[in-house]
Amino acid sequence: MSFTAQLLRGLRVTLLLWLLTVVVVTLPMLALARLVAPDAASGSLLRTGDQVVGARLIGQSFRSNRYLHGRPAGAPNLAASNPELAKRVADAASLWQIAGVAQSAPDLLLDSASGVDPHISLAAARQQLPRLARERQMSVAELEGLLRQAQEGPQGLQAIEPVVNVLRFNLALNALRAP
């Protein structure tokens, strides 16, 4: 067979498979998504009133003392042997010590992979409750209640250990006491 004929065949295959794998399979999936899981399909958005304030799955950065803090982000690719890593961890640990946490949970010292890890460990959350109680004039017991509401974990096959969804917790906090 001549090269031109081969090329023509190749062009037809390319056109056919492009339509198949881009248009024909994607459109029904988009339609199905609207039908069976419209909330997840559009990004699991969280709203306060009409305002989109975030997404249930996506962590936000919190620096204010009036909010529960999430995991650090920014240098996920530091190698285990890199002296920079130990320095970063030491710096973070001493900042937490200044904030009154003697031995902070590992997940508050080590960077998440995505930069938007929505979770912290229960231990990491509990360490921050005294600060939040002071700042928001609430009791630790009240805050523990909120913690339970924002908890996700192995039972729901959401996470390998019991964790707290930081954004959900902070939204619940705002709902109780204006920020």
Binding site: L30, A37, I58, A79, A80, S81, G115
Partner: protein, 556 residues
């Protein structure tokens, strides 16, 4: 304890489900009667082949299978390259422009070769038209090309005519990859993965900062990314990002999805040669290597980083997501590098040296399931060489699957094995010789050597993962890895097809008392030795300079 239990459950699920899919693959690629659910595709397939202008007859020789493969792949790549170079405004809500030429070239070659190495941040450079029309398109067709080659080689080894490339390509898509991807996409969708053409959303966080939510048509993209052993993320953070991999359950199912098609391909091989004992032993071999690697990586990640013991006890959570934890990220890394998926659910750069060692070992060997279709073919090459070596040792004529192994087979097999070190070690040596600035190393010491070697090993093995601290978005990296990507894909494919086609034409020998049986535990053991000696020893010096040296530093 829980991570280990879940790892066992996930791997057991692969073993339990592989035979049913293996049977389906056998029926599809050996033209057996189809089950009712996909029999209705037959007339459509005939019609489409006729429109293409191909009668669907088997190729007479290697060349007539390889030619359409190369021509169509070149056209697939050109189409994607054009879309990336001139990103049009349609379905491009944030109005991203075209990519720099070397980046566009690298990206299209990387996805065309089923590698999915990414030197760009997709959510900041690619609109939906590029994500779907270039990337998702290539993820489907490159996986289908791999499957087609895998089954053409299996046909050759089992004495059948080698097949018709366009027919295999079409059937891989319509009967395997598309139905499986739709099912997985549906599961991912209900688990929280977005599937929308609505533009990424800029929101104001509770503290008043701006944040982009990189939503898009992710669920289906993610499904073919995992099932097709592609691995390129819709989002740069890949499967670490909650929009790609939102829960523990999606993480485990996505781990299973990387393994299921290659495991089923091995099972189908046994059905093709009519000897499932043979395929089960090979499956046990590959699975054994996988399980050892998984054990090493999970234990290393769980033990954590001794340099941080002043502040931290417990597992290595640096560059990891809390919902997966340290150990299951180790599992994912080994599965993803073994299967040549290359997806990551945490930073491999920040992993423990023993995890990186395991990942590199997988990239060097290329058979711990290996690439879609091609991994199976590599395994047959190693088995063939094991037959040859044992034949030499005991002074018998080497035979494999009822046919004599002779000079041409050994030449082709050696060639297949030599391509890999050539495309890994030479460019890595050049880059390291060029100095740290050229190399773009971000971590000091022996880890920096690992970063460079890993990038080329990942490219040549068509894996796509990386030690991502590396500054690899430069023209040097884009162009040199492009060579490794192409060399690591098409040269072995050509050699494998030639090997299989030659093997098929040999006369079948009746087994005699003098025949060395290959479906025994002993022979499988010899194959392991051959694998380690031929596949890994070539690379031992770089392993010693990289991860082994780093592990020793940490331990001291």
């Amino acid at each position: 304890m829980l991570p280990w239990l879940l790892a066992v459950v996930t791997l057991a699920a692969v073993v339990l489900t592989a035979p049913s899919l293996g049977r389906h693959l056998f029926e599809v690629f050996d033209d057996r009667p189809q089950p009712a659910w996909d029999r209705w595709l037959n007339p459509m397939e005939t019609g489409l082949l006729r429109w293409i202008g191909d009668a669907g007859r088997s190729a007479e020789n290697t060349r007539s299978y390889l030619q359409p493969l190369l021509i169509s792949n070149a056209l697939f790549g050109l189409l994607a390259l054009t879309l990336l170079l001139f990103q049009p405004a349609w379905f491009n809500p944030l109005g991203f422009g075209g990519l720099r030429w070397d980046l566009a070239l690298h990206t299209s070659i990387s996805f065309l070769t089923n590698t999915d190495q990414q030197h760009l941040i997709p959510e900041q450079t690619l609109g939906n038209l590029a994500q779907l029309g270039a990337i998702q398109f290539l993820m489907f067709v490159s996986a289908a090309t791999g499957l087609a080659v895998g089954f053409a080689v299996i046909r050759g080894f089992s004495g059948r005519p080698i097949g018709n490339f366009y027919r295999d390509l079409l059937r891989s898509l319509t009967r395997v990859l598309i139905p499986a991807s739709l099912l997985l996409a549906l599961f991912l969708l209900v688990s929280g993965v977005p599937m929308t053409l609505a533009p990424p959303l800029e929101i104001t966080t509770l503290e008043g900062a701006k944040q982009w939510l990189p939503r898009g048509p992710i669920a289906l993209f993610e499904a073919i990314k995992q099932l097709g052993e592609n691995g390129g993320g819709f989002i740069s953070a890949n499967s670490a990002h909650p929009y790609e991999n939102p829960t523990l359950l999606t993480n485990l199912v996505s781990t299973w999805a990387m393994l299921i098609i290659p495991a089923a391909t091995l099972d189908a091989f046994g059905r093709f040669v009519g000897n499932r004992r043979q395929s089960n032993l090979l499956l046990a071999l590959v699975f054994g290597l996988l399980v050892i690697g998984v054990g090493v990586a999970m234990a290393a990640e769980q033990a954590g980083n001794p340099l941080l013991s002043n502040w931290i006890s417990g597992g290595n959570l640096q560059g990891k997501e809390l919902r997966f934890g340290s150990a299951l990220t180790g599992l994912w890394t080994v599965v993803s590098t073994g299967t040549m998926t290359g997806a990551v659910n945490g930073s491999i750069d920040a992993a423990m040296p023993l995890t990186i060692l395991t990942a590199l070992f997988n990239l060097f060997l290329q058979v711990v399931f290996g690439g879609q279709g091609t991994g199976m073919a590599y395994l047959l090459v190693f088995a063939l060489l094991a037959v040859f070596l044992t034949g030499l040792m005991v002074g018998r004529t080497p035979e494999f699957l009822g046919r004599k192994v002779e000079k041409p087979q050994v030449v082709w097999a050696s060639l297949v094995l030599l391509i890999h070190p050539l495309f890994v070690l030479i460019p890595a040596a050049l880059t390291l010789a060029g100095g740290a600035t050229l190399a773009g190393i971000s971590n000091p010491g022996s880890h920096g050597i690992s970063q460079v070697v890993y990038e080329y090993a990942s490219a040549a093995a068509n894996n796509g993962s990386g030690l991502e601290g590396l500054s690899d978005g430069t023209a040097w990296w884009n162009l040199t890895t492009s060579l490794s990507l192409l060399g690591g894909r098409y040269l072995p494919i050509a050699a494998l097809l030639a090997l299989a086609d030659g093997f098929r034409q040999k006369p079948v020998l009746e087994p005699s008392p003098g025949t060395l049986r290959t479906d025994t535990g002993l022979f499988t053991g010899v194959t392991v030795v051959v694998l380690v000696i031929l596949g890994a020893l070539t690379f031992f010096p770089v392993l010693a300079l990289g991860p082994i040296a780093e592990a020793l530093t940490l331990a001291s």
